[in-house]
Symmetry: C2
Subunit: 396 residues, 2 copies
């Protein structure tokens, strides 16, 4: 592994902080008088005591030989373990050893390159490591790290022009709540007057609007591709895919996100941004649960979307919620409706056994489908590669 | 407390997710074949097993009588406690009680209204609650909640036009790293052609560029004030205040942030955004450590900044790093240099005993200083009010 690979800032960026400091202030004792409610004799030094600077110990450190060091601070614990989520980092728990300061650590060999959600177990309880990279997954805060390879530079932070990521609030007509969409605008958007195509892209179950940025590094992937002239300048809109209403029955789809996207989000985006509004310049994609949402929405609204990306969700043309079997019997119609049907997945998560044969059946009928797969599990490195590949074929 | 107060979405927004879903998918068992590296016989259902939807139990729930319920999931723990950081929520640990599912809970009375960082202790180890609101504080992930009052609506999420929050990358000439600034642009920025004034505002020690949005709700404060015509439309730029270089000695200021702000960030912002670039339309402010950074930078660069805000940092005109005693002896010069010197703090953190007398001394010499204080500790509710007050006086 190249030294620059291990040192790229993208490996340290996370939802809690973009560039974690190398040093931190350590407060040796709590301010003594902070509970003094009457405020008498309180000075600044009473509420903010003197601090010493100490080096930050990263929770996860990838070594040049590919081994990974983990650390967790729990001075009063009896047992601390770390384990992956399966796939490239086994669910088997790795025991950690405590030093005299209360830091537990271990070095694990044999983890496969890629993105790894992982858990710490403190005396048998799953815990978040506050010193580690953190994102929203599994419906709460969860730690992750990347074991990179030199091939990963397509999602690295480089000295290229960077687009913005903007938080946009819009109102959901489904449940009346204010939603936050994250919007990537390409480098130069503010200075130019062009109109751009838009990709709407969804996260997986348990994740949210922040996943494609902090886990997926999608803004960096787009920055890098655009700087090389390998993809169209475009906007990318990332939504939280949950649109539950009160008292709603449990169903596969988490509420009527279809309505929220098409009736609320898209009109909001198109009213505010300089974007192209014909179907050939509007795409929807997603990963896992989000890929099924994307496929369903694209098939239902063929007047709105000219391209669809289905990452790690198979290619289900029939489900309890819909049945497009007849539609896909008419290959000419499908090929006329869609500029791009992009289907991807990891070799180790069923793509070869399940998805590819399903695609081949449709191809035998003449349906045009672009597929992409690579070694990998149901995890973010496959989805980064999927986005990287799809962006180079989208809106062309 | 009004029902609408407890239900405002701003009480639930956090760095990990803007609008947490009411339900979550629960996976009853891990996918059995996920560790099967050769990929044989893997189907989608092997990697993503069937899930059931369950109601989300919020980690913190404020009751209408002002009591606060806390929950923490740790089925194998022997003891779980919750405690505040002092001030309005005591450092005394409150024991929690386990139910049969493994959730620990307790209801705490007597917590004062306001913003509360707090800690959970699992068998004596400080832990982050992954089900709770989370932000970056104390140099890592930390939980917080608000015990609101009906007066708090100035920072609530309302049906008013919302500005954007944008993530901007720029290069630090101090340490060569790429920095991320969060930039608030006012409602209408994209559609209008006006130029706007800019406030640069800093976080406290252990916090970062995200603090003023997720803890401070500064974008919502500005949205609400602008909608009422109570403050100028402006840009607000939030930076991480750490500019450490390798091997740097421990000092009070965390690196040469002064250089980073004035040489790197401001030129970047002014090259990209439609902003006014005279000193009367440029301000710098901060809280706690950030307030001293702001004061130092404003005094050093009086050609750049016409206004300064010092929240909860006293008003130190002399420190080991600088001495402006002589300067402040010349009140006419100070009053000519600054349109606004805004100094604020909480009554219970030393403002009345320390800061106000220092200000009065300068006032006696003729220096114009606007002060603001209210009941409160060294904590975000005082800083939200400080920003709310300062914004109504800034650039007028």
């Amino acid at each position: 592994m190249k030294k620059e690979t291990l040192e790229n800032q993208a490996l340290r960026t996370q939802i809690l902080i973009f560039d974690p400091p190398e040093k931190k202030a350590v407060f040796k004792s709590p301010p003594p008088k902070r509970d003094n409610l009457d405020g008498k004799n309180l000075g600044f030094s009473d509420v903010m005591p003197k601090a010493e600077l100490a080096d930050v110990k990263p929770a996860v450190q990838v070594l040049e030989n590919g081994d990974v060091q983990f650390r967790f601070y729990a001075p009063n614990a009896q047992k601390v373990e770390v384990a992956g989520w399966g796939g490239g980092f086994s669910r088997e728990r790795n025991p950690m050893v405590k030093d005299e300061e209360g830091w537990w650590s271990t070095t694990v060999s044999g983890i496969l390159p890629g993105f790894h959600y992982h858990d710490y177990f403190v005396d048998g309880n799953r815990m978040v490591n506050p010193d580690g990279l953190c994102g929203y997954g599994s419906f709460y805060g969860v730690n992750f790290f990347d074991l990179p390879t030199d091939e990963d530079e397509f999602w690295f932070l480089k000295d290229v022009p960077h687009g913005d990521v903007r938080m946009e609030y819009y109102k959901s007509s489904v449940n009346g709540r204010t939603k936050c969409a994250w919007v990537y605008t390409p480098p130069g958007y503010d200075a130019e007057t062009d109109k751009y195509p838009v990709l709407y892209i969804q996260h997986g179950v348990g994740e949210n609007e922040t996943g494609w940025i902090w886990q997926g590094k999608l803004n960096l992937i787009a920055d890098n591709l655009i700087s090389q002239g390998k993809c169209k300048k475009l906007l990318i809109v990332m939504n939280s895919g949950y649109a539950f209403t009160e008292g709603e029955d449990p169903v596969f789809f988490p509420g009527d996100f279809d309505a929220e996207l098409t009736k609320d989000c898209i009109p909001y985006i198109e009213g505010k941004y300089r974007v192209l509004t014909d179907k050939h310049n509007r795409a929807v994609a997603g990963l896992s649960l989000g890929s099924i949402q994307a496929l369903f929405i694209a098939l239902k609204h063929r007047e709105l979307f000219g391209s669809v990306g289905v990452f790690s969700g198979g290619f289900p043309i029939k489900r309890p919620e819909y049945d497009y079997t007849d539609y896909f019997n008419d290959a000419e119609r499908v090929n006329s409706d869609f500029d791009l049907i992009f289907v991807s997945g990891g070799d180790n998560e069923g793509f070869l056994q399940g998805t590819l044969p399903a695609i081949e059946k449709l191809r035998a009928r003449g349906v045009k489908i672009t597929d992409y797969h690579r070694p990998g599990f149901h995890v973010w490195d496959v989805w980064r590669y999927s986005a990287y590949e799809m962006l180079q074929k989208l809106f062309m």
